[in-house]
Symmetry: D3
Subunit: 251 residues, 6 copies
């Protein structure tokens, strides 16, 4: 197991380099928070919708609720997929990613300070080129923060500043024996080992999901991948902070 | 029943004026044809996907096939709607509009010249402000034309030039007694009568769908609405032609 | 575009002639209004069911509600179709027609006078030979009127006489270049242009739905089809009035 | 346990008397066999549809196949029920009765003589007043016989005369301690014990389904109910034979 | 039709002999009543779940409610079946058996004495070798009795001793002309006639469901099968009583 | 972050101690491999079903296929859950776990040596007390090995010994600040951080899935949890090997 070196990848990046990342706030006119996030050619639209009140099982708890739904447009991918609405059921992968995004976002917010409000984050993949779930989490955090500000401006929070820490996510994997950061589709399909890591802004772990796709991995590889991911998340945290520091265009 | 006069509407338009219309080709990297079409704040992503072959019931006919699927993102609208994939079934409105788009597009193409190829057009409403189905048809025609060019460049057409005429669509309605063109959401909900008209580039009718929402309409009103719609479609035809005349950005 | 002339059709009718139409009231013993309507060999059973109260979103409005559901028995058609209950989902065509019937019926009734009562009209096609949706609307209007009388006899209306105007519907189309009224199945499949028109008893338009099936239509054709349809609806209005003027057989 | 005596029931019948039964053949124009069967106010439309070939699991066996589907129109009953197509699933009762009808019909036919043809019998209850499944079986047998004749006239049977015996069905039950034949709805809901019996024309049993609804039954009661049912089926057999002996109206 | 004689069957049993039956109470730790019941190699896990309150339509009636759900594990059978959850719908056979078990159990209990409590009995077939529905009923009765005791110990019954009579069930059928008791799978598939009988502890009938699978049956056969079934149920009643008399292992 | 110490847990175990684990092979008579696996009170039935051939998309590849389906009986848990078959759809958690089990098992087998055979592993949770997915993987591996032996005995493998390494899984988590191995339900709900780890017999990682449930975790905690999990999997590997070394009871 070697350490990551700055080799050149198909898109010219170093092994430890992110793709160009852009975060466009207020991409939609109606949503309380909305972000078009791009990790290279991967493009995800994250829309945060605020509702007063919480689901029945949570009523009277004083706590708010945050959920997420992930989906892909049929032609986000190289070949068209059938719509899940047409098939009449949601696939396992979609469910799995929606749950991951929701858990990750809930780690960023004090649900007591949010008060009995619900925020639903829709993450719709307009174009997919690897890393759609990590782009979704990274963008959804910014949309969530905007939706919480929207509630704050309307004096609807139970306590000020419910956002307790930022969350960002990135994929890492081993390609041709080399650990690499932020895999595009063509690397993702070739990866022997694949890991998605969600970190807080100060480097804590929220989720670590590593999968051996064909090649079982050892502890040193795991360590190298975690190092790459932590550094990548730190860079994404910086990009999120910069996006949130800009004046949002008026709606 | 009075003739349309150039009164001022909430968005400053004359009664016979379209909203600003933009057609962005090649908005996606993978699709054989793709358009982001905007009618004011209504934004629809149209993606054309080519498959070799046709559905089983059409095999051996020598004819191609064109279908469309329409859908709205959950937060395209002012308040969030549940996903049809989550509800497990497609609503009547969605079905109705998908069928309308498909029929309209098939009027623009010679399916014999297309040969045994299938083109599926996905029209996903990213933001809705009235006229989503008419924007979808107008944009989808351009995406279809690009997908057919893609087939032509690869020598996969049965005969050259399958596109026999352009199609475009616009909504018209009576608001406060006045016939108006291209209704945004706030006019749409107030319209007594509402009509969607699909025309070919030379002014023939493909679809005429008029509905009295509360106010039955008479023949002069119907005539006035058709006049408005035909003029609106002619303007949309010009915008489509201009978009198709530009060099598409390389993918 | 020529005017309709009294040519002979396969079933011996003139171009502007309806098929034999019969309306049998009280075909069922339990329903508050029920009609077996026949347009030639097309046979639709329309049953109106009254419920006190309205859907939740309408409660306290003082307004009633009228809906319709259209369906076909599996062997209504030349070859058997699968049941939608067995397929587990309702097709787009069924949805589209159910919505059309509901909208059309709501144009005939003052929902404030109906008061907070709901009427559901089930239109089940027992045998199909073209024009099932127009027969359904024509028959459903009579079943609705009977159900409203039933409410009136029981002093359950908010105001007397909620039925403000009758509605009837007919199909028209261009076959071999000739506009024709009330198409049976064999003409329907050959029609280049096809239109369903719903009129009120005094000739106002409720719905105009024209579709070019292969042949785009021009304004004179549209005008000729509308003329035929308006005359056909007037004749249907007369047949409805006659049926309603008869003493209904006791239940 | 006493023997059935000729007491008077609400509808004036003796305990061992059927309701008026009518069997109208060729009620539909398209189906290969069709019957409107009435047991008093219970009205079931039975349509037999012939398809060449058999389901995949049966191919090459030389044997035909017969199935049935039972359904109720929403307003067949005193209060309207939701459609199973709208609910998106078929209820247990519907499944159970469809299977019962199919098994019963298969007892009447030599599937080897039928050859590799499939016959689907749709039994749609237009109006329900008790005994819908027994009316359905009784009518469906006649529709099946007509469909088999249709095949015979076209020389599509493997061997002549596949119909080996007739089947008919009737309900029996104990009301106020008295065994009664052919229960209408108002007796059915009051029955302590309820039994549906399917017999062949020569009195053999095809199905015996007895249920204690609240009151467990002893052997003498079971015997009395079976006696009633066997006599009732014999009378239905006679009515079926008479219907089949008439010249069917030309289609 | 001959009387049953003590011939030897494939598993060495006499025609009127049950397979080895075992009833293991408290097989689960959480359920208020649970039984693993075995009829030879058929193994069914019956779990009774108590909920306070009753379904809405029964509220305020003072009566309790008992339901059952039957299901098979995918590999309970010789070849694997698809899960009904994966297919997205429950098959007719499953519905039919669930309803049968529920009706049978309700015959054993005084729902007024149960009070407004609900008991759901899940019968999951872990391994199937014929007679799964009869084993399920026989085991479910014991699980139900334990759940009722659980309620009694917690003083939650409206009146003491709601269990008014036991119920047990067994299959019988004619194989090679011989009536036999408790059919394993290999006899079940060969049976010309097949009957499931549910009896109370004192020999009354709760359900009698006989089906001619290919061979219509006459009255003497029916009588012989009922005799066998009544004797078999009496033996099962004895085994149930013995199981319930043992101290249940502590949970 | 402290190292795990041998504190006493509610069930008397040390922090690094597994619950009693038992693996009963051949629990079913029909399945090609079957195991009842118990981790304390968690009980999962794993059944391996062999089919000749592979899904269509894999035909001609020479490779076999292994899938898994996970499900819970309704009363496996403390309170009853609705069946997924009754709800008509499979939940996200079920999908996620089924996919995890399938991926884990495929890491243990050389699909080329398996040849074009499919093995489906059903993991049905009979009783749940935490760790159901890890018990399922651990038991399913043994059932898979037995099914592969079954194929080997019948000379149906492409190459001998497709099982290339064993897989086992265990949960770990931080409770009251202490890392613990193999969490029962009551610890699972209290865990701040929760991780499921799947290892091969020689200690390589197949899956690492860590989730902060409320408490973000740092690198030392992650390391401590991985250490615990690796040791736990080694012990499970030993138990699997022992179970497989015993003569399986004859079927």
């Amino acid at each position: 197991m070697t350490q990551p070196r700055p080799t050149l990848r198909a898109d010219g990046r170093a092994a430890d380099e992110l793709r160009p990342v852009t975060i466009t706030r207020n991409w939609l006119d109606h949503a309380e928070g909305s972000v078009l996030v791009e990790f290279g050619r991967t493009r995800v639209l994250c829309a945060a919708s605020v509702t007063e009140g919480v689901p029945r099982w949570r009523k009277g708890s004083g706590l708010g609720w945050v959920t997420a739904e992930y989906s892909m447009l049929p032609r986000a991918t190289h070949t068209r997929s059938d719509r899940e609405s047409v098939r009449g059921k949601i696939g396992g992968r979609t469910h799995e990613i929606s749950r991951l995004i929701g858990r990750s976002l809930r780690a960023s917010i004090d649900l007591g300070a949010l008060g009995e409000n619900s925020i639903a984050i829709d993450c719709d993949v307009l174009q997919a080129d690897g890393g759609t779930r990590t782009a979704a989490i990274t963008g959804a955090y910014v949309a969530l923060a905007d939706a919480v500000s929207w509630l704050g401006e309307r004096k609807k929070l139970a306590k000020p500043n419910p956002m307790v820490q930022s969350v960002a996510a990135v994929s890492v994997g081993v390609i041709d024996g080399e650990p690499r950061l932020d895999l595009p589709y063509e690397e993702d399909v070739r990866a022997g080992t694949d890991m998605n890591v969600v970190c807080t802004g100060d480097g804590g772990f929220v989720e670590v999901q590593g999968t051996a796709e064909g090649a079982v991995f050892d502890r040193p590889t795991l360590d190298a991948l975690l190092d790459l991911a932590v550094a990548g998340c730190a860079e994404l945290t910086r990009i999120q902070a910069e996006a949130l520091s800009r004046d949002a265009a008026p709606r």
